[in-house]
Symmetry: C2
Subunit: 255 residues, 2 copies
DNA sequence: CAGTGGTCTAGACCACATC
DNA sequence: ATGTGGTCTAGACCACTGA
């Protein structure tokens, strides 16, 4: 039976039933009981399995849906959300070139290699200094113009053989690849935006002068269990801007 | 009776009952039936008034709560959210100095005056060129160091006598002032972040060299009815960064 | 067609804030 | 003590999808 611990007699002081049920469902998703794109049991089936009313099961599933972990479709059923469904329009990729509305940039891989985590990387990733990581350099362009230079780092303990796999696939979507190749779901990211000065590598790749100002976005990608799995630094030419919207009908929860 | 149109026999094809009820509640908030901080009728009272079940009324109110228009407190009741409740930790103010977690900056008003909207301002505000607006300059500092130079513009047709009122109050929170002095609620903003070069005024105020790179955040503030009421440009010294979090438990809906 | 999620109802009990 | 929102139940009907 898939419910290891009876959610009805847990915790002290006990959380609401639907909350415990939700946590258990997350545990099962994390364990890989259902893969992204796969159908989850129906409301009534889950209600029966957990011994709760449909309304309660519904509330648990509903919360997973607003967190975009799960996709509900009337008549079809509920599926585990795939990376592209989770990150719909601009959720993750908020960089735009000039006035263009399209966030679409071509991607070119510049390098993919295994390395050892620096002190800063180790701290940010929550691993020991010197642990194995994979470093990736990508360049995004707009109409043939270099626009965004990305440096990524992922934990090799979570993504074994990442260098080879990434080098081979050169995926347009990093999160889809993490999902398909390593069963890692990244439902949550934190970003900081600031001004940076171009170093020599930036200058070379982006065709700008060393020391010229760039827009820098630093990102930490969190896995379902809360661990940081990915670090990303994006340095963009000054004509690129970062856009964000806060509040309003149907905006997701803020951290 | 406060329900002008019977929400039960509306629209074609008709939206769900709870959605129509929600829209009607928004209409009443917009009309000012209840002021920020004031108690809204209870679930059961509203259910009775609209002739729906408590569960349905509940769903309508619940949606207003996730949009932060309304604040629900068990044992107390439901109130119209005040500006500071709506913009809780960092929802609107996402600029930080260096590594400090606190987004707290002192505020100093530099100038407040009436003016005519430029072509760009008029377009962004959805008003005619040359319409009356109020322009405000503020400086935010961190530990006595100039950090963020803000230029604001608000529509004077919506905020009559704004120049005098703002000059008089010099409010720390602009949105709280809009709410209290003009009954305008701003539940939604859009922001763009980019690199800018310091002009002469920036240089003078922020104590940097003309032409040196700054972090610029441009913001449009939307009123409840969807109109743009406020334009804001924030130019910050390079040690300031903009932070954002996407997804995860209890993140608001993304635009 | 059977099965899904979406809406809606009517009731119960509870934890909590206020007076 | 009263009234609030929060949880939970058990049912009904509907719109839609897919075989």
């Amino acid at each position: 039976m898939s419910v290891d611990t009876d959610i009805r007699k847990a915790d002290r002081p006990s959380k609401p039933l639907y909350a415990r049920m939700k946590e258990d469902l997350v545990r099962r998703i994390l364990r890989g009981d259902w893969r992204p794109g796969e159908l989850v049991p129906s409301e009534t089936a889950l209600a029966q399995e957990y011994g709760v009313s449909v309304g309660t099961a519904r509330k648990a599933i509903e919360e997973l849906a607003v967190e975009r972990l799960v996709l509900r479709q009337r008549g079809r059923g509920t599926t585990i959300a795939k990376a592209d469904e989770r990150s719909k329009p601009f959720r993750f990729y908020r960089l735009h070139y000039g006035n263009s509305v399209q966030p679409i940039f071509s991607v070119k891989y510049l390098s993919v290699k295994s390395a050892r985590a620096s002190a800063a990387e180790a701290r940010a990733l929550g691993i020991a200094r010197g642990s194995a990581i994979t470093r990736v350099e990508r360049l995004r362009g707009h109409d043939g113009i270099p626009a965004v230079f990305e440096r990524l780092a992922v934990r090799e303990d979570l993504c074994p053989d990442a260098a080879a796999i990434i080098g081979d696939l050169q995926p347009a979507s990093f999160y889809t690849m993490l999902e398909r190749s390593f069963h890692i779901i990244v439902p949550h990211v934190k970003e900081q935006v600031q001004v940076a000065m171009a170093d020599e590598r930036d200058a070379e790749v982006l065709k700008v002068a060393v020391g010229s100002p760039l827009l820098e976005v630093t990102r930490q990608g969190y896995a379902l269990n809360g661990e940081v799995v990915e670090l990303r630094q994006m340095r963009a030419v000054p004509s690129v801007h970062y856009s964000n919207t806060i509040g309003g009908p149907s905006s997701p929860p803020a951290g």
